[in-house]
Each structure stands twice: as structure tokens, then as C-alpha cells.
């Protein structure tokens, strides 16, 4: 479980995040949604420690992330996995070497065991035969899956995904979403996903935080999201004609 308390973040004079409170539970896919530029990436970077918040508290299962010593933080990092918007695979290494990299850096097992673990992770994302390819030889969806395999190679407790299906077609997006959700349940991971994709929201939004202009605008589940009366949220959710149509059909049913 990750708890965010009263988080603020400013860049020079620009206040990007204002008083964010949130709780992200283990074994659930927690979504941070909002328009482009609303501050989702900044929020996630603050949570994982790539940015230092201006104020606030961050608790990883009760452990205060911002007050930790460097060493404690380093150890906690081994429990984190992250999937970046651009996949961020190391382009000088093969797919298999990418997945083995965290193991080689941090685990004390033998080369053979690491190899087996990396293959297991690749197999988990259905890429067991792409190990020898270079990252630029595979499709965007496959790159994202390799990124997932790399992120889970050290059996993380916390998984962070920044727009995991940006740039992917709806079907591939769904595969990635389901994969992340399955892995979350399988290993009881605390997963946080940034997205602006309503398909993902409806498919895997077990717990949703809506960020609007740097503040928390709404909080709930994908079942509640259609019925909310929060105006900015409705503007966001029903921005597409498809969802407008869905709402019309739904309200007609009630009549």
C-alpha cells in the first residue's frame, strides 16, 4: 500500500500539484487519470522519487519515503518496477539482456539462475522467442511487454506504469492492460497506472484518482465514474462521442 499525504510540487514559480491525498492498495490496479498536462507524470515521478515534492508525505507500507536514508531508499528501489511512456529499453542490449539487467545489477544468483528467471519473465509476457532481438527490431506493443518483463524480473512489491498504452492500437492496449492487471493480482503488487485512455479506465479501473489542474478532482471506481456529478470529470469522461452515446443509451434504459 502506498499513501500520499498533502503532496505539493512546484517548478520555480509554477505550482503543478496542489494538496494531493491518495491511497493506493496492494493487489489492485490503481489508476491516475486526467487530461494531458494535468500533472499525472509529475505526480508519479514524485511518488517514485525521480522528483522531490515541495511538501507532503509518502508512505510505502508505512515506511516514510522522503525521510529515509540514502541506503534505505536504495533498498526500497529494488522493490519497485516502472514502465515508462517510451518503454525506455536499453537500446544497446538485446531483449533478454534488458530483462536480465536488474538481476545482474542486484541479485546474487548464478548466471544460469538469472537466465532462467529472465526467460520466465519473458514467457510471462508471451515473448519467449524474442530474447535475442534488439529493442528497435520489435513493435511498440512488444517493447512495452519487454518493459513489463524487465520491471517484474526482481519480483517487485510496487509497479508504476506511465501511460503504458500510449501509441498502441486499442487491441494491443487491452492486452497490455490485462497483462498488468493479471500480474498485479498474481503477485499482490501495489500497481499505479497513469492513463488518459477511457478504454483502460473502464477495463481495469479498480480504484481511480482523477487529477484536474493539479488537484484531486474525484476518487472512485470504474463502476461509479459514469454516475459522478463532478463537472470536470464528466467533461473528461464524455469528451468522446462514443462515451456520450453510451450515456444516452444508459439513461434511455432507465426511462
Amino acid at each position: 500500500m502506498i499513501e500520499v499525504k498533502g503532496l505539493y510540487k512546484s517548478f520555480e514559480d509554477k505550482e503543478v500539484l496542489k494538496n494531493i491525498d491518495a491511497t493506493f492498495e496492494a493487489g489492485k490496479t490503481n489508476l491516475i487519470i486526467g487530461q494531458s498536462g494535468s500533472g499525472k507524470t509529475v505526480l508519479m515521478k514524485c511518488i517514485v522519487g525521480l522528483l522531490v515534492p515541495t511538501a507532503g508525505e509518502l508512505l510505502y507500507d508505512g515506511r516514510n519515503f522522503l525521510k529515509m536514508s540514502k541506503k534505505e531508499r536504495k533498498l526500497l528501489r529494488r522493490e519497485m518496477g516502472m514502465i515508462f511512456q517510451s518503454a525506455a529499453l536499453f537500446d544497446s542490449m538485446t531483449v533478454l539482456e534488458n530483462v536480465m539487467f536488474p538481476l545482474r545489477m542486484f541479485s546474487d544468483s548464478s548466471e544460469k539462475e538469472m537466465y532462467r528467471q529472465a526467460l520466465k519473465c519473458l514467457d510471462r509476457v508471451n515473448l519467449s522467442d524474442a530474447g535475442q532481438k534488439m529493442p528497435d527490431e520489435i513493435s511498440g506493443g512488444m517493447q512495452k511487454r519487454v518493459a513489463i518483463a524487465r520491471a517484474i524480473s526482481l519480483n517487485p512489491q510496487y509497479l508504476f506504469c506511465d501511460e503504458p498504452n500510449s501509441g498502441l492500437d486499442p487491441k494491443t492496449s487491452l492486452i497490455i492492460d490485462r497483462l498488468i492487471q493479471d500480474i498485479t493480482k498474481e503477485y499482490n503488487i501495489t500497481t499505479i497506472i497513469n492513463t488518459h485512455d477511457m478504454n483502460s479506465v473502464m477495463a481495469i479501473g479498480e480504484q481511480i484518482i482523477f487529477v484536474h489542474e493539479g488537484t484531486k478532482g474525484w476518487e472512485g471506481t470504474n463502476k461509479e465514474i459514469m454516475k459522478s456529478n463532478c463537472q470536470p470529470l464528466n467533461d473528461f469522461v464524455f469528451a468522446s462521442d462514443l462515451f456520450k452515446k453510451v450515456r444516452e443509451v444508459a439513461t434511455e434504459d432507465i426511462k
Binding site: L50, R77, M80, F84, Q85, S86, A88, D91, M105, F106
Partner: protein
Amino acid sequence: MHYNIHNNMIKALDSFGKYLLLMYRVFARPERFRRYFVQYVREMFQLGFKSIAIVLLISVFIGAVITIQIKLNIESPWMPKWTVGYVTREILILEFSSSIMCLILAGKVGSNIASELGTMRVTQQIDALEIMGVNSASYLILPKIAALITVIPALVIFSFSAGVFGAYCVSWFTDTIVTSHLQLGMQYWFQEWYVWCAIIKSVFFAFIISSVSAYFGYTVEGGSIAVGKASTNAVVSCSALILFADLILTKILMG
């Protein structure tokens, strides 16, 4: 005008401070020595071995041209016959192979380092390392610095040998100078200390090239345009610093 100079000085000091902070992170104690060693060997190949061809080409030609120029412009009947060989050798060892060669390498290797690290920054590969708990500055930059400090002195000696070879080619294949006269000059009043001067200077230049271009690449912000700019800035700064260091080192080493 004054305001501008003042501003630029503050900017330069600011950059220098950031450079020092980066170097402080780079020289942290490596945790996985073996991984660093693998990177070190890779960088020696990537940055050093792949520069052999250009060093060979330029040095042979410059060696030959210097010989011809000295012969045509300086030698006269009342000068001793060792003049051409002696002057050629001294120019090669004292300035060309040690300093000018490093300027050329600053262009080739410096832009390579800056654009590689810059690309890793903008594609979030550096963030991915940080998330895993890897000291990305040390892991990416230390092997490069170590590799260049090993390889560049060797390239300087190689460049000197190639330059001498170029000079001999002139005596073998043209009638500009007699081989025996050239040889007499090449062996005249040889001082071992000058070779050491060249090696010492090149170690400093190697450190300048690797660390300064790494600084420009590592601190890129933005996209591909920023990477290109960083690469240009790296080469310009490295060249200026090498010339400046050359002046000071020559004064110190040669009295």
C-alpha cells in the same frame, strides 16, 4: 553589454558547479565491479578501437606534410642536415600527436558520448536506471572516463609512430629528402621526458573529453534538438578546455 557578460559568467559558474556535483556522483564507489568492468571493456572498444583508423590516416598525412614543409621552408645550406628530421619529430611529439590529436578526438569521441547519453536521457533510459536503484551517473560515465584515460595515451603514441612513418614515406617515395638525413634528425638529441610529457598531457585531455562531454549529454532536457545542441556544446567546450589546459600543462611540464 555589461549585464550580458555578468549573466554569462553566472551561467558558466552555475554549469561548473553542476559539473562538480555530477563528478561527485560519478566517483562513488561502484557496487557491482564486474558490471563496470564489462562496460569498461565495451567503451574501450567503442571509443578507442574505433578511432584507430582516423588517427592513423590523419597522423601519416600530417607527418608527411610537416616533413615536406620544413624541408622546403626552413632548410638552407648553412643549416645542419639533421634539421628536418629533428623538427618534425619535436612537432609531432610535443604538439601534434599529444594536443592536436586530442582536439580531433574531442570532435569524434566527445560528440559520440554527448549524443549517446543525451539520447538515453530523453528516451528515459537514465530514469529507468535510477528507478532500479542504479547510480546512473557512475554506471554510465565512470567506465567512459576510465576507458578514455587508458586508450587515449596509447592512441597518442600510436599517432606519433604513424606520423614518423609518414615522414619516412616522404623520404622513400619522393626525392625531397634523403632517408639517412631524416633518420639522423629523428635520432638527434632524443629526450625521453618529451614522450612522458605527451602521455601526461593526453591523460588530462582524456579526462576533459570524457567528463565534459558526459556532463553535456547527461544533463540534456527536452528532445532530439536538445541532444544535437548538447553534442555541439560538448565539442566546443572540450576543445576550448583542451587548448587552455595545453597552455598550462606545457608551461608546467616544460618549465
